[in-house]
């Protein structure tokens, strides 16, 4: 019986890349993809997406709203390598070249429910002032060879980055069979936990 003893657990995430705060930039679009460990496999939904270009709102918030839906389901046998969503935001520079405006990554939430995440974004810096100038002039800013780099810790020490803005994501998470496999992602049960009781 598959129901009795499942061999995988499922993680379903839907939600959206809601909006972003990039005070200096406009007309941005974003890409997302997932980075996950070897024991993970996507079973449904899109693993990658590229959004529409959005312009700043005219009000004081100057929000860049995409409302770009995410809907993906993973299956896994091991929570190690829990999926991360990697976001990269692009937009035109002064000369109209498409340059990267920010990279960011965050783990998908562990616990079922609705979660809102605001990810700070960053971009790699040029190695020298001169290169910075030329890259600005030529419209070829330094980029990661692969946006997925931001989801891993290895090799980051050789890079320098600059913080850029924020992207807000909304996740609705549903898990299946995690408890059956012995993983408890729920919030800590405070019942029975005796804290210090002051008089």
């Amino acid at each position: 019986m598959a129901a009795a003893s499942p061999s995988v657990f499922l993680l379903m995430v839907n939600g959206q890349v809601e909006s972003a705060q990039f005070p200096e930039y406009d007309d941005l679009y974003c890409k997302y993809c997932f980075v996950y460990g070897q024991d993970w496999a996507p079973t449904a939904g899109l693993e990658e997406g590229i959004s529409q270009i959005t312009s700043k709102s005219q009000d004081v918030r100057q929000a860049l709203v995409w409302n770009f839906p995410i809907d993906v389901t993973f299956k896994s046998t091991n929570p190690y390598g829990w999926p991360q969503i990697v976001l990269s935001v692009y937009g035109p520079d002064v000369f109209g070249n498409d340059v990267v405006r920010g990279y960011g990554a965050v783990h998908l939430p562990f616990s079922p429910g609705r979660h809102k995440r605001t990810i700070p974004m960053f971009v790699p810096e040029s190695t020298s002032k001169l290169q910075k100038f030329t890259s600005w002039f030529m419209g070829r800013r330094p980029e990661y060879t692969d946006p997925k780099v931001v989801a891993q810790g290895e090799g980051r020490e050789v890079t320098r980055v600059r913080s850029q803005g924020f992207v807000t994501l909304l996740f609705n998470v549903v898990t299946k069979d995690m408890r059956k496999l012995g993983y408890d992602p729920g919030p800590a049960d405070t019942q029975g936990v005796s804290g210090p009781c002051l008089p």
């Binding site: 003893s5 499942p6 061999s7 995988v8 070897q38 024991d39 993970w40 496999a41 896994s76 046998t77 091991n78 190690y80 609705r114 979660h115 809102k116 790699p124 040029s126 190695t127 020298s128 001169l130 290169q131 030329t134 890259s135 030529m138 070829r140 330094p142 980029e143 990661y144 060879t145 692969d146 997925k148 780099v149 290895e154 090799g155 980051r156 020490e157 050789v158 890079t159 496999l181 919030p187 800590a188 049960d189 405070t190 019942q191 005796s194 804290g195 210090p196 009781c197 002051l198 008089p199």
Partner: protein, 1575 residues
């Protein structure tokens, strides 16, 4: 303030006014006039009006129109005013009338005036309230005190708009009901009737008070001056006031007559209160005494005191509780509501102090909301707990009384030497007194006496009831007791005596000091009183004592002696026995020695000679006596010697100042300058300090102060700080004295004065007689015998709890005091008090539990109690050893055993260790049972076989060893790469444009001017992708076959349909291009538009056009018909699918094209099947390391496809075509994948490896006048032009740079950079990676080596032949295609130097190899960098062994057998027949081929074959390879596709020949042929 009261006041004012008027006190009128005038002037000021408006509203009585309100303030100042007016209904007499008249006039005047004033005024609100509060207060007082008036006016509160009518009405009702009957209007009433507007006029009413109040405020300013006259006539006014009231009431009564319209609905307050009292029950707020709550004669019983657990009661305020209790008592006297303790029954408080439900966070909440600050009222825990404790008592503070009596310095810097001695003496004397008080010596002496008596009794058998044993035992005990007591007594006596001696000694010292210094500054005086003793009795007692002692000692000694004697006897017996034996032995020996004198030496050495025991001395009485007497003389008073009793008194006289030396005077003055005070610190906070007192000459300070500390908490600490002030300047902290906190039993009055010592570590050196502190000084003249004293002293104090007024000690409650301030926290949390480690220590925990007085019955504590119980009862094992990381077990996820046993964890671990087999294992199953055992088999096998050399595949042992070695080398290199993989460079992570130099800028500028669509487009560079980011199926190898020429031609028919097949070793797909073979075809590109896809047709203006290789633009090969290669049996399905998909894609109608078209046959791609990598690289691992280790080759096979018409019947020819296609292998090009990987792309013309004999084909050279590459047309063999690349472009892994000299490496870098600048396309290899993955200079690998002598001897005369032979030999040396394991293929090298080709051509054929020409070759080593003479890694000389011919023959047979089996395997559906005859023919033929090195044998060979196999149609070819392993041979045979012929009567022939060369270099020839019998 209450408007009612206000009004009342005003009414009374009116009375006064009227009264005054009535009394004819005209003196006021002038004032009134003046007031009026003032009012006129002030009307413009708006503030007054506002006052009135805001406060009085519109409820002013119209009576107050009167302007003379200047006495308004009077009631507040005049006592009598507050008295209630006497009701005087009967007194409305004659005077009333005249009064009324006057009144009326006045009213009228005032009214008109007020109205006129109002007309002028415009009220502007501006609050002015400064005065109001005081007025209000006075009014309140007035109102409440005159209860009658209050009552009278109460009903009038009801409505906001007061009508005078109503007021009057009510007044009449109360006051003057029995008076004038209604219907008889008085003059006043009549007047009112006609003049008054009875309707309430709010506006007017509003305005008037304003005017009035304005006046009042004015008046208040001047009130002071005006009042005195009024106050003089106090009595009068009081009386007149009453009169006036009467008058007023009378007046009202008259108006009343007209107001009978509505009956009054007033209800007396009395009545109402009475009614309320009947109807309502208001429970008292007072505490209910306990006896009322309990049944009679029942004492309250407190369960908690009896040890039962009672939870915390819910919190209810005292008042509410009292109300509730009162109510319950009143309503339900059954008293079932109360418990045994007299309190309302209650369940334990269900409210937990912390939330048990997780807070629900609504997603809509923003962070700001969650961070919102909530105001929470501060809660005083202490007070609340006090409420709980003393429910009956008022929560009072507790009090601690600290009595500081005084301070004595036992040492002080200002002490003179004499003082030091005096202090010492005083101390000794105190000690003496203390000892005297205890008198331990006497006590012990008495005890000794008693014990002796007891022993005496015990010895006398006068107690028959006691058994002898017991007695003996008791006596023994007594004796030991006596012995101990005597020892103690002796010690005590000695101490006493020593002390006395010391006292006397110190006193003597002091006396001598006084004499020496010739002055006395301490009043200390020791008197030794002698007490006469009776000499005889004393002596007797002394003697008796000594005698007793002696006898006892003697007894003890005798016992001891007995014991020793016993020991002695036994040992003596032993010794005797031994001696005897010895003697016997000796005798024997002697005897023996006589017989065998030589053996004497061999006598065993006596083990150990027992010493002859010495008998113990018997106890000697005189000796003992001597000892006893000596000791007695030392420690005891001699008999007859008088008892000395020292008495210390302060009676001595001190030398006055003028007789003292200067230093002493200075010292005394210094002492006087010093003063001392104490600070009292409670819980480390200063709460008070004593007065500063001067230090006395005797170094005593008397304070005698008592500090009453009002406290809330149980004290944590109580400290006194001693401060010393010298003169006016500095204050120094001498010491801190910690006072003990008194027991609860210690209350004021009962506390003894105690002394607490203190000492300071300050160092003081003084320049006068004072000895200082902390510095050495001496009593001796020579300064010897130094001693150092520190400032020290004693504080005498007493601390006690105060007693309250009712005799209850003001002590904090027990719950607090037991643990102190931190009790609550401690009690709540065991961890916080004993620490985490304490939890493991059961003893500590139990101790804590006992200390914190945990309620053992509280269910909350149950688990803890249980734990402690088990721990203390010893049921659980508490280790007494120390253990490091005792909690480690808790953190262990799983035990090590289980970890090793579990297949899943093993898999996970192996994967994280990046073991090749598991590196890319995906989705490791959750359960062990789902993991197949075979997963580990390969890995385990590899581990096992690491050192085992298998010979199954590798035929000869030598090869096997080499293969093993290579395998190990590869592994180690891969491991190095794995490490290097985790070492990232910036370029691995970030793509960054390089800083453009001028040439690139110029180039980019030039680019702008470039044509958008050049006629001959160039390939653009692509973005490089690091291999780590790839996933399965990402890599494609793109192969573009541009052209091939000089393909062998089919002889019999003039047709050639060459097809090309690309093969990934394993899977393959092939593309055939049927074309009419002809060397005559010269038409360029017939471009049949019908078959062209329109989108692409424009793109092929020329046949040889090179294309972009990107997938999207790869054009489908034109006019190609794809033949599915059935693939290998058991081939991976992925490649089959791929082939079919390509076929689908490319399926086009065939059209006849020429050979020239073959040149334009182009572009097909095939994907690297992911599974193809499986055999060597782990699945799906596209990391640099594994890609580099891919050994697979790309085969480009060229086939000729021959169509045979097999239509049997000519008649059918019209309706159907039945042909068979046979494909004949013509040759192949083999390109290793690693080459593609490292080169990124391969673009060039390759010589097709065509077998030396191709039966049925001619290799005739044709002069093809192709203009584009005339040079190649002259070359031998067939050629194919290919472009191969990988999609996406992969970055070859960087190696670890080390080993070589840094300078040299830099030079190589520079050299490379220089060369690359000039010829960016040319490869320049200066460094290579050696076996250990290190970079070494390339010339280390380049070295001339001697060829095998055997080969040199073969053609001794023909140098050319020898060279060819050697070259052939070299070509046969097996090598591995992967450049990791071996030195890289370098295209440019010399013997020891390195040059770079700077000629215009890079084709090897055109290179001028004369390196001495600097124009053509750029040397690496120049004068600036001379050749450092690097040692080569190659051996100096190779030694060549002869290869075993027998082994070669054996191998030959084996290979043949294997290959035959394989061919049969590849044809599973068909019968494979072997033509033995042909095979033997071929076998004979192969050695010839070897000898001729595959040249110039074709024609003869063909003829011979034709002769022998005349009736067969024969197609076949010999393959020639160097031998390293069997596998490549099989692959080569397979790739020829010989087995694909499915003609039913086909026969095969296969022959293998191996020619051995020295050093196990083998040349393998395989001849494969298929024969079809011609009918």
């Amino acid at each position: 303030m209450n408007p009612k009261e206000e009004k009342v006041k005003i009414i009374t004012e009116e009375f006064i006014e009227n009264d005054e008027v009535a009394d004819g006190r005209r003196k006021k009128t002038s004032k009134v006039q003046r007031q009026r005038g003032k009012k006129q002037t002030l009307t413009t000021g708006p503030e007054e009006m506002v006052l009135e408006k805001s406060h009085l509203g519109n409820q002013q009585d119209p009576m107050q129109e009167e302007p003379e309100t200047h006495l308004v303030s009077m009631p507040s100042r005049q006592g009598p005013r507050s008295l209630p007016p006497i009701p005087s209904a009967s007194r409305t007499g004659f005077a009333e009338f005249s009064m009324r008249e006057r009144m009326r006039e006045k009213l009228q005047a005032a009214r008109s005036k007020a109205e006129s004033v109002l007309l002028q005024e415009i009220p502007t609100p501006q609050p002015r309230r400064l005065r109001r509060p005081s007025e209000k207060e006075s009014e309140t007082e007035f109102g409440t005190e005159s209860g009658k008036e209050v009552r009278r006016t109460q009903p009038e509160d009801d409505s906001q708009s007061y009508s005078r009518v109503k007021f009057d009405n009510s007044v009449r009702k109360i006051k003057s009901k029995p008076q004038t009957p209604p219907g008889f209007p008085s003059a006043e009433e009549a007047y009112n009737f006609f003049t008054f507007n009875f309707d309430p006029e709010p506006e007017e009413l509003e305005e008037k008070p304003k005017a009035k109040n304005r006046e009042r405020s004015n008046q208040e300013e001047e009130g002071e001056e005006e009042e005195p006259p009024i106050q003089e006539g106090d009595e009068e006014e009081l009386l007149s006031g009453k009169d006036a009231e009467d008058f007023l009431l009378g007046l009202d009564q008259t108006t009343d007559d007209f107001l009978e319209v509505r009956p009054a609905d007033y209800e007396s307050v009395h009545v109402r209160l009475q009614m309320e009292e009947e109807a309502l029950f208001i429970p008292s707020r007072l505490t209910v005494p306990t006896y009322r709550k309990l049944p009679e004669n029942v004492q309250p019983r407190f369960l908690e005191d009896e040890g039962l657990y009672i939870g915390a009661r819910p919190e209810v305020t005292c008042t509410n509780q009292n109300i509730m209790e009162n109510r319950l008592l009143a309503q339900d006297p059954e008293k079932k509501w109360f418990g045994d303790d007299g309190r309302v029954l209650a369940l334990p408080n269900p409210i937990k102090p912390y939330p048990t439900r997780p807070p629900v966070l609504t997603a809509g909440q923003s962070i700001k909301e969650e961070l919102e600050t909530l105001y929470k009222k501060a809660v005083k825990y202490i007070h609340r707990s006090q409420h709980m404790i003393g429910s009956g008592d008022p929560p009072g503070n507790f009090q601690l009384d600290i009595d500081i009596a005084g301070l004595i310095f036992t040492h002080h810097p200002c002490f003179s030497r004499e003082h030091v001695l005096a202090a010492k003496l005083a101390q000794l004397y105190n000690q003496y007194l203390a000892r005297q008080q205890r008198n331990k010596a006497k006590f012990l002496t008495d005890k000794l006496q008693a014990l002796r008596h007891a022993v005496e009794f015990g010895l006398n058998p006068e107690k028959p009831h006691q058994s002898l044993d017991t007695t003996q035992k008791t006596i023994n005990e007594y004796k030991s007791e006596i012995w101990q007591t005597r020892k103690l007594r002796d010690a005590e006596q000695e101490k006493d005596r020593t002390l006395l001696k010391t006292i006397i000694k110190v006193w003597k010292e002091m006396k001598s000091l006084r004499e020496f210094q010739r002055f006395t500054n301490t009043p200390l005086k020791l008197v030794l009183r002698k007490e006469k003793v009776d000499q005889k009795a004393d002596e007797e007692a002394f003697e008796a004592e000594i005698q007793a002692e002696i006898s006892e000692l003697l007894e003890e000694h005798t016992e001891e002696y007995e014991q020793k004697m016993e020991e002695y006897r036994t040992s003596y017996q032993h010794w005797k026995a031994w001696k005897k034996a010895q003697r016997a032995k000796k005798k024997k020996k002697k005897h023996a020695a006589e017989e065998h004198p030589d053996e004497e030496i061999e006598e065993p050495y006596p083990e150990e000679e027992p010493v002859k025991p010495i008998p113990p001395d018997p106890p000697d009485r005189p000796v003992i006596e001597q000892q006893v007497r000596e000791r007695a003389a030392q420690s005891r008073r001699k008999p007859g010697e008088p008892v000395l009793v020292p008495e210390l008194s302060l009676a001595g006289s001190m030398t006055p100042n003028d007789q003292c030396p200067r230093v002493e005077v200075l010292r005394r003055e210094d002492v006087k300058r010093r003063s001392v005070y104490l600070k009292v610190l409670f819980n480390h906070k200063e709460v008070s300090r004593t007065v500063s007192r001067q230090l006395g000459a005797d170094f005593r300070v008397h304070f005698g102060q008592i500090f009453n500390l009002q406290i809330l908490n149980w004290p944590e600490s109580l400290t006194l700080q001693v401060y010393e002030t010298i003169g006016l300047s500095s204050t120094t902290l001498l010491a801190e004295v910690f006072l003990p906190i008194p027991e609860t039993t210690v209350v004021t009055g009962r506390a003894p004065i105690e002394e607490v010592e203190f000492s300071s570590n300050q160092h003081v050196t003084l320049d006068h007689e004072g000895v200082g502190s902390g510095v050495p000084f001496s009593f001796e003249a020579d300064g010897s015998n130094q001693l150092i004293l520190m400032t020290s002293g004693k504080v005498s104090h007493s601390v006690a709890w105060a007693i309250g007024e009712n005799g209850i000690p003001l002590i904090p409650p027990l719950s607090q005091q037991s643990i102190g301030f931190r009790s609550a926290l401690k009690r709540a949390d065991a961890i916080s008090s004993v620490g985490t480690s304490g939890l493991a220590d059961m003893k500590k925990l139990a101790k804590w539990a006992a200390e914190s007085k945990l309620d053992p019955n509280d269910p909350n504590n149950a688990p803890l109690m249980q734990l402690i119980l088990i721990a203390t009862s010893g049921e659980s094992y508490v280790p007494d050893f120390f253990r490091l990381e005792q909690l480690q077990q808790e953190f262990n996820f799983i035990s090590d055993e289980e970890l090793n046993r579990s297949k899943r964890f093993r898999l996970l671990r192996l994967r994280s260790q990046e073991v090749p087999e598991f590196r890319n294992y995906k989705q490791i199953p959750v359960y062990d049972r789902e993991i197949m055992e075979k997963v580990f088999q390969d890995y385990e096998k590899r581990l096992r076989d690491r050192n085992v050399i298998e010979t199954k595949d590798n035929i000869d042992a030598h090869r096997a060893i080499v293969a093993k070695y290579l395998q190990q080398v590869r592994e180690s290199v891969i491991n190095r790469f794995l490490i290097a993989k985790h070492h990232f460079l910036l370029a691995d992570l970030i793509v960054e444009e390089e800083v453009p130099n001028i040439s690139i800028l110029g180039l980019s500028l030039f680019k702008l001017a470039e044509q958008k669509r050049p006629l001959r487009p160039r390939r653009r560079g692509r973005k490089k992708v690091t291999a780590q980011n790839l996933s399965d199926g990402d890599i494609k190898v793109l192969v573009n076959v541009i052209r091939a020429y000089d393909i062998p031609l089919w002889l019999s028919e003039n047709l050639c349909f060459p097809s090309i097949e690309g093969a990934w070793s394993g899977g393959r797909c092939k593309f055939q291009k049927p074309s009419r073979s002809s060397r005559t075809f010269r038409e360029k590109h017939p471009a049949s538009p019908s078959t062209h896809s329109p989108t692409h047709s424009a793109d092929y203006p020329l046949g040889q056009r090179e294309n972009e290789w990107e997938a999207g633009t790869t054009p489908p090969a034109r006019e190609q018909k794809v033949h599915d290669s059935n693939g290998l049996p058991g081939e991976e399905p992925s490649s089959v699918q791929l082939a079919s998909s390509v076929r689908r894609h490319l399926a086009r109608p065939t059209s006849q094209l020429s050979v020239a078209e073959l040149a334009s046959c182009r572009a097909y791609l095939f994907t690297v099947p992911g599974r193809a990598l499986l055999c060597r690289a782990p699945n799906g691992d596209y990391s640099t390391a594994s890609l580099q280790s891919v050994k697979d080759d790309v085969f480009i096979n060229i086939f000729d496809e021959v169509m045979y018409d097999i239509t049997e019947d000519d008649r059918e020819r019209e309706s159907g075509i039945h042909t068979r296609i046979e494909r004949h292998w013509l040759g192949c090009v083999k390109i290793p994948f690693s080459t593609i990987y490292f080169q990124a792309r391969i673009d060039g013309t390759f010589k097709i490896n065509i077998p030396p004999v191709l039966l049925g084909y001619s290799k005739e050279r044709h002069i093809v006048e192709r203009g584009f590459d005339s040079g190649q047309s002259l070359s031998e063999g067939s050629y194919i032009t290919l472009f191969i690349t990988i999609e996406p472009q992969l970055v070859p892994g960087e190696s670890v740079r080390e080993k070589e000299d840094e300078k040299l490496l830099q030079a190589t870098e520079k050299f490379r950079a220089d060369c690359a600048l000039k010829f960016p396309d040319r490869q320049c290899l200066t460094t290579v990676i050696d076996l250990s993955g290190k970079t070494v200079f390339v010339t280390r690998y380049l070295r001339p080596l001697n060829p095998p002598q055997e080969l040199l001897n073969m053609y001794p005369n023909n140098a050319q032949a020898t060279a060819e032979l050697v070259a052939r030999y070299v070509s046969l040396i097996p090598f591995l295609p992967d450049t990791i394991s071996f030195a890289g293929v370098c295209d440019l090298w010399s013997t020891s130097d390195v040059w770079f080709n700077i000629q215009p051509y890079d084709s090897p054929l055109r290179i001028n190899f004369d390196v001495t020409k600097p124009k053509l070759w750029k040397p690496f080593f120049s004068r600036s960098l001379p050749y450092p003479g690097l040692p080569s890694v190659q051996p100096e000389e190779l030694i060549y062994q002869r290869t075993d011919k027998a082994a070669a023959a054996e191998l030959q047979d084996r290979i043949e057998k294997i290959l035959k089996e394989k061919i049969m395997d590849w044809r599973p559906r068909h019968l494979t027949r072997w033509n033995r005859y042909c095979t033997s023919t071929l076998r004979h033929f192969l050695p010839l081929l070897e000898k001729s090195q595959g040249e110039d044998v074709e024609d003869d060979h063909r003829a011979e074959l034709q002769k022998q196999l005349g009736d067969y149609r024969f197609s076949g070819f010999p393959l020639h390879m160097p031998y390293s392993e069997v596998k490549p041979l099989i692959e080569a045979v397979y790739s020829t596709g010989v087995h694909n012929i499915d003609v039913p009567n086909v026969e095969f022939a296969l022959a293998v020949y191996i020619h051995p060369y020295p050093k196990n270099v083998l040349s393998v020839w395989i001849y494969v042929a298929s024969l079809i019998r011609n009918r």
